[in-house]
């Protein structure tokens, strides 16, 4: 009863997990197994891979991720406000606008400082 709304989500997850397992498992069962070094080499657009894959990434990715987090949380805060919009007084609208304004300030600061420009 409690689960009724989420039963479809559960079925979707089940199918999503089973589909690759069945597909790959079946292929593993019936395929011929003749490995050689060339077959087992890492494939990257037909070009041989250069260097280590575990490298240090640019610090700028972090700014993008953090900007995303900030507006992710803003969306979560604004959803209850939007749902309750018709029951709320006018000052709630002002408060939400203040919230958005402060976060726009954050975006403008990041933008003006050039942190969003890829260098």
């Amino acid at each position: 009863m409690v689960l009724s709304d989420f039963t479809f989500v559960g079925i979707l997850i089940l199918v999503a997990v089973l589909l690759p397992i069945v597909g790959l498992g079946l292929a593993w069962l019936i395929r011929p197994k003749k490995p050689n070094p060339i077959k087992q080499s890492t494939y990257e657009c037909g070009i041989e891979t250069i260097g280590d894959t575990w490298v240090q990434f640019k610090a700028q990715y972090y700014i993008y991720a953090l900007v995303f987090v900030v507006f992710d949380i803003e969306a979560v805060f604004l959803l209850p406000w939007a749902v309750a919009y018709h029951q709320l007084p006018l000052y709630a609208l002002v408060e939400a606008v203040i919230l958005i304004a402060i976060l726009v300030l954050a975006l403008v600061y990041t933008w003006r400082k050039g942190a969003l420009r890829w260098s």
Binding site: Y62, F77, L79, I102, A115
Partner: protein, 171 residues
């Protein structure tokens, strides 16, 4: 199958996910894999919220914890020099202090769990999800408006701090 059995089976799978993921976080020798285990643990908590019929909290957990915080942790690991290259032990000489704190935390949580008389939710709380979110919105912009606005200032400060730190390292 009756609903109860299904719920117990789902709960068992979620517990396996949450605790197994947590165990993976602390035991994995590769920090990056540890962060991925953290995602698994968070996903189990999403399932708990679904079982409790708290759809909004489940969505928030999915959006914030998996979609944002776990990604941020992964990025932080990928940006750190040395953490990506070698596999390292999860232990250092301070392990016994950590153990002490962990045991104390567990005792405090266990005592709270036993002592507090957990109230069962009223019918009002079990109203339809949209009504619950609407109530949340009214509370958030009514009595709890100060935390609502302070959160945005906190986010602003976090972003400004990150921009300053990232730019200092580049120049």
């Amino acid at each position: 199958m009756p609903t109860n059995v299904v719920q117990i089976v789902v709960f068992a799978i979620l517990t396996l996910m949450t605790l197994g993921g947590g165990l993976g976080v602390v035991s994995s020798r590769n920090l990056f894999h540890g962060a991925l285990f953290l995602v698994l643990s968070f996903a189990g908590v999403v399932g708990y919220y679904v079982l409790l019929d708290a759809g909004f909290l489940a969505a928030v957990q999915l959006l914030i914890y998996i979609g944002a915080i776990a990604i941020l942790i992964l990025f932080a690991i990928m940006l750190s020099r040395g953490l990506m290259s070698q596999r390292q032990s999860q232990r250092n000489e301070q392990w016994w202090i950590a153990l002490l704190v962990v045991v104390l935390t567990f005792v405090v949580l266990a005592v709270v769990l036993w002592q507090v008389d957990w109230p069962v939710a009223s019918d009002q709380a079990l109203a339809s999800p949209s009504v619950a979110i609407s109530q949340l919105g009214q509370e958030l912009l009514g009595p709890y408006v100060i935390p609502f606005e302070v959160a945005s200032v906190l986010l602003l400060v976090a972003l400004v701090g990150a921009v300053i730190l990232a730019r200092e390292t580049e120049t």
